[in-house]
């Protein structure tokens, strides 16, 4: 998909995995703004996704890159927005901010 991507910033290198990532997020994100999903939309801090989406997202990313992801070193900051996720896990352009144990926070409780 990509040349038809609605992403107004258009900073990500077009690729099928990124198109699939956008589609995955768009299908699950709640309360997207009128402009739709952009690469810098704060997914967790903006409460569009929750921590409960992350295990399935990791599965999805592993499937795209065909490699396991070391979950023990991850934090909320690694899933800040589409650009960060793509840079961190899909070898695209570097994200604007560092990954790691970010503090975007989440709210889903502490059972898992």
């Amino acid at each position: 998909m990509s040349s038809e991507s609605p992403d107004p910033l258009g900073q990500l290198r077009d690729s099928e995995p990124i198109a699939q990532l956008r589609a995955w997020v768009s299908a699950r994100a709640s309360d997207l703004p009128p402009g739709g999903l952009t690469e810098d939309l704060p997914l967790l801090a903006g409460r569009h996704l929750t921590s409960l989406h992350i295990p399935e997202l990791i599965l999805f990313l592993e499937r795209l890159r065909r490699q396991p992801i070391d979950v023990e070193v991850l934090g909320a900051g690694d899933f800040r927005d589409v650009a960060t996720i793509a840079a961190r896990f899909l070898d695209t352009l570097p994200a604007r901010t560092g990954s790691g144990t970010g503090s975007d926070g989440d709210e889903s409780g502490d059972a898992r």
């Binding site: 992350i54 295990p55 399935e56 990791i58 599965l59 499937r63 065909r66 979950v71 989440d106 409780g109």
Partner: protein
Amino acid sequence: MAELTPPADAAARLRKSISAMAGTVGRLTEQSRARYRNPYEAVTWPDAVDPEQDWFFTPELTSLHGTRHEIPADDPRARRYAFQEAANFFSLNIHGEKSLMAGLASRMYRSDLMEVSDYLHHFLDEENKHSVYFGGFCRRYAKVYRSRHVPFAETADRSVSDLLFFSKVLLFEEHADRYNVLQAKDGRLHELSRFINEAHHADESRHLVFNRTIVQALWETHAPDWDAAALADVRTRLGLFFGTTWREYYNPDVYADAGFDDPWEVAEDAWADPAQRAHRRAISARCLRFFLTAGILEQEPENVF
């Protein structure tokens, strides 16, 4: 999630609801004390096991059962694969119990939960023992399969956090317990596997009563204070938790160890297979009925069954 301002009397109402649980919790506490077991004496670990000779997981409960990827029971690889499923089942319990213990510990001796603190000691102790069994098996004979859950900071309103925490515990434990019950009485399984499943179920049967009682109390205390947006958010999260709980039973790492070339594809196929959807519905039926009957959920979660 919508911002919530707890009414001033919410803590007092919760104390009252928790006090009303005293009879049930007292009985559970007595039973825990009477049936106290030392996990270091209760089981004799064999020096080695033979995953290709013995069954360690009920073949009909394996996540590929009924799918196009199922390994026939008479195939020499079937028992090895079932052994890996056992290790995954024990591993997902280890990960679940880690966060469960953390959540219980953080609530012990909280003023509005003081009346159940004695039982929380047993709950936490018993979860720790279960992890001794699960970890003992995985570390001696197999491995601990990784979790894909990423722990995030807690920022929710406390009343919402409490309900979500105990609801998730309920959901997680009720699913695992169905597997325990079925496998504890499966005469085909190696006695060590049957023992671990039986020991887990013996304690979980009390936990399930506690979970349902406290979830009901929390719901009846807090839900009337929540607006429509907050209620919808709680329900969405519970629905998501059904999915994340079940997804762990379809672990690509297991399929990779079983020799599948594309383990992620196998996981997606198995997840979507009608036979597995029916299996999930059957296993989830009891706790789903609880959430629906209590009004905590208004409809089945999407994309799970």
